[in-house]
């Protein structure tokens, strides 16, 4: 953010208590120690603490580092704290809010500002919508100073702060565009006791589809912050895997169908262990790896394979299932529903292989049988 002219507190990242102590010493004065995790709500969860001395900063760092932080945005397991940010503490007079995102209705970037910073913007939008000011940005001309003034006055800034805020917002928009963000949010943007603006906390989300042109952002990626099963899936070439709470492993082609399969499992009284869109690449390896995922997930009691071949060929998927049975020890019942491109060949491969699987005739039958299988009612 400082590269884009946005004022941020002086500070550095530390991964040991000794480093944290050294940074605090360098800053000379009160510091704030902040857990560096992929989640918001850190303050309320105890992940942000003030220290008066370098020793205290070191102590706070040693209490945070190596533990897991549970906030309302993480699951009950929380996320690991492997780094803390130590930065100068500021006398905060007011807390403001600024963000940029793409508005799907206008299909334009939207900058939002509010004088009600330091809390969730959704809460502000519900409780006091009149405190949120918005401007749409024309990508051909970019963010304009008059828009900055409109938002600055909306936040009740005065005097020199108006020009300062406009410059900061221009920088934030440039950061948003240059780095292909999907969200660039400063919350809170502090007005300090001496009247300066300072970005105290920020959240930047990046567009996955644009990562190919941002090597620097890719390098920031920290696997430790993510769900281990999701990291494992990615390493096995399964990019569209999301861990869920249940015990039925799901393998589906297509995101919409995969969501609908999960919905249908719940409708039938069961609960999916994951969302998995196998995609359309026609290789048996990825199917085998999906089964490795189910084996690696000790919660899985049954598996549902639901494929409607379009770009994906059903016979290749069937071959992959047979390979999986040959290469790995599969102890749970597997329900298979196949339809679409080359379905007859797919069914022939499965039935001739001699593997023990439960055949489903359609979408509903598949979900229903998978729920029964997970309860041990059919094998």
């Amino acid at each position: 953010m400082s590269q884009f002219g946005i004022p941020v507190p002086r500070g550095k990242v530390a991964s040991t208590p000794a480093e944290a102590r050294a940074v605090a010493k360098e800053i000379c004065g009160r510091v704030v120690v902040k857990a560096q995790v992929y989640a918001g709500g850190r303050g309320r969860a105890g992940g942000i603490k003030v220290a008066d001395t370098p020793e205290e900063a070191g102590e706070i760092a040693s209490r945070l580092l190596g533990t897991r932080l549970v906030t309302h945005q993480t699951g009950a397991e929380g996320v690991p704290i492997s780094r803390v940010l130590v930065e100068e503490a500021s006398e905060v007079h007011r807390e403001l809010y600024i963000s940029v995102l793409v508005d799907s209705t206008t299909r334009l970037p939207l900058m939002m500002a509010s004088e009600a910073g330091g809390m969730e913007v959704e809460e502000v939008a519900q409780a006091t919508p009149e405190k949120i000011f918005k401007v749409s940005i024309d990508p051909a001309v970019g963010f304009q100073p008059f828009q900055g003034r409109k938002l600055a006055y909306g936040m009740n800034l005065t005097g020199k702060q108006v020009a300062e805020a406009t410059k900061l917002m221009t920088g934030l928009y440039q950061l948003f565009v240059t780095k292909d963000c999907s969200l660039a949010e400063i919350n809170p943007l502090a007005v300090t006791a001496d009247g300066r603006l300072l970005a105290l906390d920020a959240k930047l989300n990046f567009d996955d589809n644009a990562l190919f042109r941002h090597k620097d952002i890719q390098e920031l990626h920290d696997e430790e912050q993510e769900e281990p099963l999701e990291v494992q899936a990615c390493n096995w070439g399964i990019n569209n895997y999301v861990k869920m709470d249940g015990n039925i492993g799901c393998m589906v082609n297509g995101a919409g169908l995969a969501m609908a399969v999960n919905d249908l499992i719940q409708y039938c009284g069961g609960s999916p262990a994951n969302f998995l869109d196998i995609g359309t690449l026609n290789t048996t390896d990825r199917v085998v790896n999906a089964f490795r995922m189910f084996v690696a997930d000790s919660r899985v009691k049954a598996v549902l394979v639901n494929i409607f071949g379009g770009m994906a060929r059903v016979d290749v998927i069937a071959k992959g299932i047979v390979d999986a049975y040959q290469q790995i020890d599969i102890a749970f019942p597997v329900v298979v529903r196949l339809a679409g491109t080359n379905v007859d060949e797919g069914n022939r491969i499965l039935s001739e292989s001699g593997i023990n699987f439960i055949k489903a005739k359609d979408f509903y039958d598949g979900a229903h049988k998978a729920v029964q299988a997970a309860k041990g009612q059919i094998k």
Binding site: Q73, V102, S104, T105, R107, L108, P109, E122, D138, P139, A140, V177, D180, S182, D207, D208, N209, A210, F212, R213, N240, V242, M244, V252, N253, G254, A255, G256, L257, A258, M259, A260, N262, D263, L264, I265, Q266, Y267, P272, F275, D277, F308, G309, G310, M311, A339, G340, T341, D362, F363, Y364, A367
Partner: protein, 293 residues
């Protein structure tokens, strides 16, 4: 009997010489689509699948009078390809490519303003008017000509829904995949307007999913202007917030993005909700029987 594509569609394919481009062009030709040109910069003058290839959309349109384009260009170059076709004034562009950066689509949408081109997609299965013309990657054989319009953010889920309709003898006027991205060229409302005006579409099946507010916007249109029954299913009731469920646009970031909110809005607007995705066909049949009796 249909919207967007029919027997009069003269298709050009951008990215025709790539693996997916040529594979699906072949399938479209087999279905009966008139594919008149392909465009791959640097490969002009060649032929592929009996179709002449040009270096530019401008040249292809001038030579062949193509009136629709199907885009298979890789994500890093797709926005440029779409804008090239917009610039030439191609009336319909169907972009299949998945993975185009959002900021690129912001530019494309901005470039589209005030022009007459209609963009479907990206990240979509395409458009098919059964028995007439297929512009996309969907399985042609599962479709049946008829009077129900289908509009969806999904690919394979749409195949399942279409197969359900066909197995019950319910044919389709046109099936439109608007795609799974956060910024589609056309939204549910855009396509509902076309179905509403199409005299041979009797009812519409809408397949939505979590993320964004397209379903809520559709609900407003259904409530205020739609004169035909709409059957709706919204995928992702079980999806956790903050997680991207495969599609770039399928992520719950606020209350409005939840399936339950979308279902509530659509239901309040008078759409018939199919709560079981395996019974969208049956729900549609009930609605159609009610209408005709």
């Amino acid at each position: 009997m249909s919207i967007l594509v029919d027997k009069g569609t003269r298709l050009l394919v951008q990215g025709i010489t790539g693996g997916e481009g040529s594979f699906h062009t072949q399938r479209c030709i087999e279905y009966g689509t008139k594919v008149v040109a392909g465009v791959t910069p640097g490969k002009g003058g060649n032929q592929i699948l009996g179709v002449p290839v040009y270096n530019s959309v401008e040249r292809a349109v001038a030579e062949t009078e193509a009136n629709a384009s199907m885009v298979f260009v890789p994500p890093a170059f797709a926005a440029d390809a779409i804008m090239e076709a917009i610039d030439v004034g191609v009336p319909l562009i169907v972009c299949i490519t998945e993975g185009i950066p959002v900021m690129d689509m912001v530019k494309v949408n901005s470039y589209l303003k005030g022009k007459s081109t209609r963009l479907i997609g990206p990240n979509c299965p395409g458009v098919i008017s059964p028995g007439k013309c297929k512009v996309g990657i969907m399985v042609g054989e599962i479709h049946l000509p008829g009077n129900v319009g289908v509009v969806s953010r999904s690919g394979t889920l749409t195949y399942d829904v279409v197969a359900q309709l066909t197995s019950l003898g319910i044919g389709q006027s046109t099936c439109v995949g608007i795609g799974g991205d956060a910024l589609p060229g056309s939204t549910f409302v855009d396509v509902l307007k076309l179905f509403n005006a199409d005299e041979d579409t009797e009812a519409v099946v809408l397949v939505g999913e979590i993320g964004g507010t397209f379903e809520q916007e559709a609900a407003e249109f259904i409530r205020d202007e739609m004169t035909k029954p709409v059957v709706a299913f919204v995928a992702g009731s079980t999806a956790p917030p903050g997680k991207r469920m495969g599609h770039a646009g399928a992520i719950i970031t606020g209350t409005a993005g939840k399936a339950s909110e979308k279902i509530k809005a659509l239901s309040a607007a008078g759409a018939v909700i199919a709560s079981n995705p395996a019974k969208v066909g049956l729900t549609t049949k009930r609605v159609l029987d009610g209408v005709s009796t």
